[in-house]
Structure formats: structure tokens, C-alpha cells
Subunit: 210 residues, 3 copies
Amino acid sequence: MHNLNYLIGMTAIAAFAMAGVLAAARKDMDIISLTFLGVITAVGGGTLRDLLLSTQVFWVLDFNYVWIAIAASIFAFYLERHLRDESVWALILYLDAFGIALFGVQSIDKALALHFSAPVAVVMATITGIGGGLVRDVLAQRPNLLLSREIYATTIIVGSICYIGLMGLGGKTALTTLAGVAVTFIFRSLAIHRHWRMPRWLTLRSNLNG
Amino acid sequence: MHNLNYLIGMTAIAAFAMAGVLAAARKDMDIISLTFLGVITAVGGGTLRDLLLSTQVFWVLDFNYVWIAIAASIFAFYLERHLRDESVWALILYLDAFGIALFGVQSIDKALALHFSAPVAVVMATITGIGGGLVRDVLAQRPNLLLSREIYATTIIVGSICYIGLMGLGGKTALTTLAGVAVTFIFRSLAIHRHWRMPRWLTLRSNLNG
Amino acid sequence: MHNLNYLIGMTAIAAFAMAGVLAAARKDMDIISLTFLGVITAVGGGTLRDLLLSTQVFWVLDFNYVWIAIAASIFAFYLERHLRDESVWALILYLDAFGIALFGVQSIDKALALHFSAPVAVVMATITGIGGGLVRDVLAQRPNLLLSREIYATTIIVGSICYIGLMGLGGKTALTTLAGVAVTFIFRSLAIHRHWRMPRWLTLRSNLNG
């Protein structure tokens, strides 16, 4: 069971890294920069979470996370050069959705195990999911998801609240974990597939700053 | 007295968050992104300070800071949509000035209590005041205050040095605290009101990088 | 010997700060902003390293690093206004190369002394070398080195691996330290002098994102 969890975690890290390389890839970028951006996308959010929780950064303790992220980034680099199949990248988008769902639940478990409150745990799940991508977008000088109306952070927040609620009702079982991952994953997958955007009434209609 | 301090701190957090939402607001941004940017503006500087001082991040221990920042951000979102009164936002600018003054003094107290040196304390006061806004501007992809000639960080540095100097002369009393807050607040308020800019001789006249 | 190391470290900090001010300098920037950017360039990478290693941030313990960075930044500000000699700035570029070489070796020593693994140490050397410049470029809203094909991080990675390899073979002596610094410095100096760029086959040829 523990080994399965570890394997699933590594798969999610790889998906994060590949999605990161895809998003950041631009003409004239070299493999070192792209790998750097892929690794930051993959481990950046969890790094922020661990710093905020005053706990040892996870990949400093187990460097396998970084090795997997490096390998996945290099793989994505060659994939991009040789294979331009949209369906491959679509798959990665759903793997990324799986990644935020899984890391969300893991981050909540970690925060609660360190005796932090439920709201702190929800924030940590969200930061773990979006932090890496935000840092990547800042470094790659591209628009980040805060500037779009895509439904991304919302799915993590909703999934996290459901997961914590279920644990409050029935305790922590394999089923609550599964349900927690499922809510975020399904919500995010629907948002991808149906191109959901935030409704207008929750969006600014005018440009305040001219 | 302690309760009053707490209340004042929460007011300043709310002002920071509202000023943050105002500054970042742009067409098509949704309420989740704006709230995220508001909260980062409000607690980002103090978070950086606590990380640099190797101490537990303040809002992880007391989540009320984040609740207030979330509430103030949502309030600012609706305010922006329904009320375009310049005087409201001018008030927020002065509340922000009060915020940097108050958090400056609090950060100095915190750094000195942890036995760090006076120069470290001044740096922490400055980072607490400007850090959140810098991170917000980077994420919202807008020009930050380092790129303007506005007098902002300078007021915190001057106020912090005065405060530490007064404590050196007369010890830490309610009066020195008040004076410390007042110097930064008055200096910054004058800078806002009179549109003070850095003098030319302290400014680059040409564009080095072409 | 210890004093010599300290002096060399301070020289490298000064070089980092001056290179930082030069890179960020733009019309209408004031001396406070430029000094801030210079100091961030100089100490930012080491700060990130220390946070990731869960150890006390170096300049919080010894503020002399910041004093030197402030002095060097102000000096660079006046230098830029009064002296436009290309050769001065070329010298600073090579001092920066010396800085990344020296701080790379120091970061590896620090990480290994804290019982982290060799790969973690190499990552820390790289982050120490490039972190400050990345943060500066983000704040100054200019293209960072991840977006160029310049050979920079690669020289630190290669130098770090050589240094750790040599220590594995012959233990830590003054000679291995010297060799470790030399590899990065010479590699980076050649990259500057000969305008080396990443080869085409390690670079994206097309613009993925249109």
C-alpha cells in the first residue's frame, strides 16, 4: 500500500513536470532552462508548503522526486521536438488534474499530522497545487492562472473541504482518501473538458486601472 | 491593551488586503484570483519576515489574519463593482500607510525579541511592509514600486531607525511605540498627499541598457 | 586562512551586488530601489539555499554581508552615472563568474556538512549562484537567464560535480577546493569570453505556444 502510494506520487510529479515543460516551452529555450522550469513546476508548490509549515522540504529528504522530475522534463523536451500529437498533451493535462487532486489530499494529511488547523490545511493543499505553476509562469514570463478565468484553484479548495468534511464524519479511511482525490479530479477534469470558466458575476467586468 | 493591539493589527491587515485588490484588479479577473492576491498582499511581507527569521509563520498559528484578509478582499471586490468613489480608495491608501507603520514597529519588536541585531530588524520591517505588494505585483504582472520613484520603503526605513533610536534613548514605552508608528505614517502620508518623488540626483537619468 | 576566505567571500558578494545593479539599472530607478535589487542579487541565492536546507539564513547571522552589498550597490550607482567604461563592467562580469564559483563550493560544503546528499548539494550550489539574479530579474521585469541560451547554470553544475568527485577521490583538501572553484570559474569565463551558447540540438527550434 505504501509502495503504491509512493508510485502514484511519483507519477503525479512526472505529470506536473511534463505539463510544466509544455506550458513554458518557447523558441530558443535550452534543455537546462526547460528542465529547471519543469522541476520547479513539479516540486515548487510542495516546497512552499513545507517552508510555510516550518518542516523539512520533502525533496531535500528524498531526492527521487527531483530525479523523476528531471527525467520527465527531458522526456517532454524530446517529445515536443519529435511528436506533436495533441492527444499526448491532453493526457498530460488530465494527469496534472490527478496530480493536484493527489497532492491536495497528501498536503492536508501532512498539515493535520503536524497539528495545524483545517483551514491551514486547505490553504496548504491549494498552495501545493498552484505554487509550482505560478513560480514557473513568473520565471517564464507568461500569463499565470490568476490572470485567467480558468477553474483550477477552486477545484482544489472544494475537494479539500469535502475531504476534511468526510474525515470529520467518518474518520480517515481508504475510502475518504479516495473520495477526496476523486472530488478534485472529477471537478477539474470537467472544467478542462467542458472549458468551464468562472461565471461573470464573480468576475470584474471593467478594467479598474484603465 | 493587548486586545486593542490585536484589533489595530487586524484593521491594518484588512487595509493591506483592500489596497492589494484595488491595485491588482483588472478586467476578467475572478473573485478567487483577486482574493488570493489580496491575501498575499496582506500577509506576504510578514510571511517572508518570519521565514527569514526562522520562526513560525504568523498566520499559520493564527488563521484569523487570513480570514480578515479574505473578507476584506471580497468586500473590495464588491466595492469595486458597485462604488467607484475615488475618496474611498484614497482612504485605503492612508490605511495602507498606517499598515506599514504599524507592521514596521511590530516587526522590529519581533526581530529584537528573537535577539537579532538592529539592522536585521530594520530590514525585517521593510520586507514586512513591501514584500506582500511586491509578490502581488509580480503575480499580477504589473509594475512594482521598485520601478517607480514613489517614496515608500524609505518611509519605513526612516521610521524604523527613529523607533530603534528612541528605544535606545528611553527604553521601550507606549510613547516610543507611538512615535515609531507616527514617524512612518506621517512621512508616508505626506509622500502620498504631496506626490513626493525621489530627487533627481538619487535617480538614474539615462537608460543604461539602451 | 579563515580571514582570507571571509575576505574573498565579501569580494564575491560585492561583485554580485555590482553586477546586479548594472543588470537592473534603468532610467528613473532611484538609489533605494537599485540598492535593494543589488542586495537581493548578492544574497538572494544564498537565502533560498538556507531556507531550503532549513538552516538559519546567513546574512541574518552576519549582517556584514548586507553592509558590503549595500556599499557595493551605492558605489555601482555612482559609477554608472559618472563612468561609462565598458572595461569596468567587463571586470564585474568576471568577478561575478568568480562569485558563482566560490559560492558554489561554499554551498556544497555547507550542504554536505549538514549531512545532505551530494545531488542536494549540487542543487544548492546552483540555486545559490542563480537564485539572486532570477529574483532580481523578476522584480526588475527584465528577461532572466532561463530565457536565454547563455551558459551559466551549466558551469556551476559541472564545477560542482567535479568538486564532489575530487573530494570522493582524495578527500577535502585546499587543492580540491581550489580545483572546484577553478573549474566553474574557467568554464564560465570561457563562456563569457567566447560568447558560448547552448548547442542547437539542446534548444527548442520552434515556438510551441504559437
